[in-house]
């Protein structure tokens, strides 16, 4: 893709926000993904959806992520609530809390992975499926923990990877952290891209693989730079659910059968069969979004079984709904801080919505340990995290 530049939304939003004369322009902003849009485009659009949600949560103070704004491009259809006169693409509090909780949960699991594998002094690999516009690596590389030996791999549609390489090339705040992406030949993807951390002593890097996951190879080591002997965390943040169930399990199996030291974290919706779930399935399909694995792994138990069947031992598989994570993993004082940002009035709806998303994770191999202790509710001053 030869987009001359990806404009920074912030500068554009400044001018847009000032004009209040848009009147009912909102009524013309239907979802752009009509029935004519291809399913792939729609699925790629869910990444944009996530990027906007992330920016909303960041600008309202839920999350700290100086990179979120670079990955949101101004497109009217992104805004579920056209917000004329407002400077930010603001999501509702319930969505912001969801973005916060899901991001925090995965951050915690990644932190567990990194701290458990750090003593080896070896490279550790994180493979993010359908990573899209995820900013996580930029946050990891700028965190005060000064992580080392992280080999981060992102796999996504070529069109998405192309946008990301362009962004890294054009935005100084990004290419001051990662070097300009260099093409490396790779039979599977034709061409992948490698960026090194600009601080070479850290041995951190990002490899971007333009690959439609439906054509994932039978062994992950076919991907450039991915070495099966290193401890690896495989991450699917609402990604595998868009694939045919057999493809999704083949991808998981290709990792579990070739990588002895592996962690797996999957985040996706559950419970399609109750009243809320039926409406969710129907609303998403009206947007052209279908999740074939949802009817295969309907419950939290199904999701755990999925990991056990993929080769993780019973005692090394866990799952929590987003609602449970909010309750159990977020310390009381942090809950109060987050709740203080916007008054969340939608308690019942939160329980419904957050109860329909689960994070299921497992680990195997001696180097990886992904146990997460929960915060005891009501314990004041218990701020270990």
């Amino acid at each position: 893709m030869s987009a001359p530049s990806i404009p920074n939304l912030l500068s554009l939003r400044g001018s847009r926000g000032g004009s209040q004369g848009q009147g009912r322009g909102g009524s013309h902003r239907g979802p752009s993904s009509g029935p004519s849009a291809s399913h792939d485009t729609t699925i790629q659009g869910t990444d944009t959806d996530a990027a906007v949600s992330r920016l909303s949560a960041v600008e309202l103070g839920y999350l700290i992520d100086p990179f979120a704004s670079y990955f949101v491009t101004p497109s009217p259809s992104l805004h579920s609530r056209p917000s004329v006169g407002l400077p930010t693409p603001r999501r509702l509090p319930i969505i912001n809390r969801g973005t916060y909780t899901r991001t925090t949960a995965i951050d915690i699991l990644i932190d567990r992975f990194l701290s458990s594998t750090s003593p080896t002094g070896q490279p550790r690999q994180i493979v993010s499926l359908g990573a899209g516009t995820d900013t996580r690596l930029f946050r990891l590389l700028t965190s005060p923990q000064k992580h080392q030996n992280i080999h981060y791999h992102e796999i996504d549609f070529p069109v998405i990877i192309s946008k990301k390489t362009t962004l890294i090339r054009t935005i100084p705040a990004l290419n001051s952290i990662l070097s300009l992406p260099t093409p490396v030949p790779n039979p599977i993807t034709t061409q992948s891209f490698v960026s090194q951390h600009t601080n070479p002593e850290t041995n951190n890097s990002l490899t971007l693989h333009p690959l439609d996951l439906r054509f994932f190879p039978s062994s992950p080591s076919s991907l450039a730079g991915l070495l099966p002997e290193y401890p690896t965390l495989l991450l699917s943040e609402c990604c595998l659910c868009y694939l045919p169930p057999s493809t999704a399990s083949d991808i998981i199996t290709s990792f579990t059968s070739h990588l002895p030291s592996l962690g797996l974290v999957i985040y996706e919706p559950i419970l399609p069969g109750d009243a809320f779930g039926r409406m969710m399935v129907s609303n998403l399909s009206a947007r052209g979004v279908t999740m074939p694995t949802l009817s295969v792994y309907e419950t939290q138990e199904d999701q755990e079984r999925r990991l056990k069947e993929a080769g993780f031992a019973d005692r090394e598989v866990r799952s929590r709904t987003i609602d449970q994570i909010w309750n159990d993993w977020v310390a009381q004082r942090e809950k109060e801080r987050v709740d203080g940002l916007e008054r969340l009035d939608e308690v019942e709806e939160w329980k419904l919505l957050a109860g329909h998303y689960v994070i299921v994770w497992g680990w195997k191999g001696e180097q990886i340990h992904l146990e997460v202790a929960q915060h005891r509710d009501g314990d004041e001053g218990d701020e270990t995290e």
Partner: protein
């Protein structure tokens, strides 16, 4: 056709009225509301509605199911705005109807009728988008400050009125709860069991099996309304429908615990958006509040709009960060002290549309089907019939102004009785007809370009 009628017609078509008309309407409404007490007295029959949240097309469906104004006497328990895409049209239509038919339309304040909350949850943005300025939002917020905080329904009957659907069997005197679908078909009836005091409270909590609304909702077409009563869970009305089995309808506290004798006028019903406050032990204390202000962050007025009943003893902290949680004991003491048979409130999403708790001493009514176009819930209305024995409106203490005994100091014997009586206490509740309805069909929204898009975590 008066200007007001023209505005009503325009709003019914879901078209906003011009800014100057909004200003005038809000001015008139304020003059009307300023005369109302903090607790409005409403005589049965009345149809009680919960949250609307800007779901205009579902509000139209509500009027279709519950009857039009002024034929039906309505009481809306707040939360007209925010979340849905048509807060403006919904609230202005209700306000127009209030001004046009002040005695047939009662509006009380919800926690979303607030400047602060509407800036977060959508009404402010919507006004800005539809008018290009915040003026209309300001006019509406000024009206919010004058809305009553609660209502007392007097003269509700222990017996249901005749159903309006054609060919329906009348409810016998012993029917305490009747659940109907949107096509006037009876889904279930529950008998008052006057002489089996306090035994059965089953099925009171969230959606057990066999949701009545589902059985009915799919049965009749919108156009073929009321052709025949369903026999769903109910046979041969009038001559003795079967006693309820061990489960009540979802949302129903079931009927068992009512101890009143059939035919007596029911006690009063207190309607409030959220619930009770530890600072309010009798209804008269609500009347003493200075309500004409933005909803405060704490205090009695805040609690009335924010609190929730919960399965706890006494009072608890609310997860909402405002108001409190209160348990069955609090409700029972409050109802007893104020001679109330029931508290009707809204504020909490209920998947089945309504939910009775604490031996039917409090009910949540929720009137926004498929809330936020996402939740998949049904909605409900609560109809209370007029007591035609002539006793009901000659209310006894009934919590009417200055007539509550307060149940406080100097009432020793009664207090003891109250304590002793507490576990088994239940005022004879009014007969209740719930009409359960679903979201308006998509095509009736008639605006494909604005087809609602619900957010998920993707």
């Amino acid at each position: 056709m008066s200007d007001l009628d023209r505005a009503i017609a325009q709003l019914r078509a879901c078209r906003p009225i011009p800014e100057n008309e909004v200003r005038e309407l809000c001015h008139k409404a304020r003059e009307l509301l300023i005369e109302e007490g903090n607790v409005v007295t409403v005589n049965a029959p009345v149809t009680i509605c919960g949250d609307i949240h800007g779901q205009f097309h579902d509000l139209m469906e509500l009027f279709r199911v519950g009857g039009d104004v002024p034929d039906t006497n309505y009481l809306f328990m707040g939360d007209f705005v925010d979340r849905g895409f048509y807060s403006l049209e919904s609230f202005l239509l209700l306000l127009c109807l209030k001004v046009r038919y002040p005695d047939r339309m009662t509006l009380i304040r919800g926690n979303h009728e607030s400047r602060q909350i509407t800036t977060v949850y959508g009404f402010y943005d919507e006004c800005l988008r539809k008018y290009g300025s915040a003026n209309v939002w300001r006019y509406c917020c000024d009206v919010f400050d004058y809305l009553a905080l609660g209502a007392i329904v007097l003269g509700a009957s222990n017996t249901l009125s005749q159903p309006s659907g054609a060919g329906m069997a009348p409810a016998g005197e012993d029917v305490e709860i009747e659940v109907c679908n949107a096509d006037q078909q009876i889904i279930s009836r529950f008998l008052r069991k006057g002489d089996i005091g306090g035994s059965q409270t089953g099925g009171s909590q969230s959606g057990a099996s066999g949701s009545p609304e589902r059985g009915g909702g799919e049965g009749g077409s919108p156009n073929g309304a009321g052709q025949q009563p369903t026999t769903n869970g109910f046979s041969e009305g009038g001559s003795g429908p079967p006693a309820p089995t061990n489960t009540g309808p979802p949302g129903s506290g079931a009927s068992g615990a009512s101890g009143g004798s059939v035919g007596n006028p029911a006690g009063a019903v207190l309607c409030v958006h959220g619930g009770l406050s530890p600072l309010i032990d009798n209804v008269d204390k609500i009347r003493l509040l200075d309500r004409k202000q933005e909803v405060p962050h704490e205090g009695a007025m805040c609690d009335l709009l924010w609190s929730d009943p919960d399965e706890i003893d006494g009072w608890g902290l609310s997860p909402r960060g405002a108001g409190f949680l209160f348990g069955a004991d609090i409700v029972k003491v409050f109802n007893h002290r104020n001679d109330l048979s029931l508290i009707a409130r809204a504020h909490q999403l209920v998947m089945e549309g309504f939910k009775e708790m604490f031996d039917a001493s409090i009910v949540t009514v929720w009137s926004a089907p498929n809330y936020c176009y996402r939740c998949g819930n049904v909605a409900a209305l609560l109809e209370l019939s007029e007591d035609d024995s002539g006793l009901g409106v000659l209310a006894r203490s009934n919590g009417d102004v200055n007539r509550s005994d307060g149940g406080m100091g100097g009432q020793g014997p009664r207090g003891v009785l109250m304590e002793n009586d507490l576990l088994g206490y239940n005022r004879a509740g009014p007969a209740r007809r719930y009409r359960v309805f679903q979201a308006a069909p998509q095509d009736s929204r008639g605006m494909p370009a604005k087809k609602p898009v619900a957010d998920y975590f993707l």
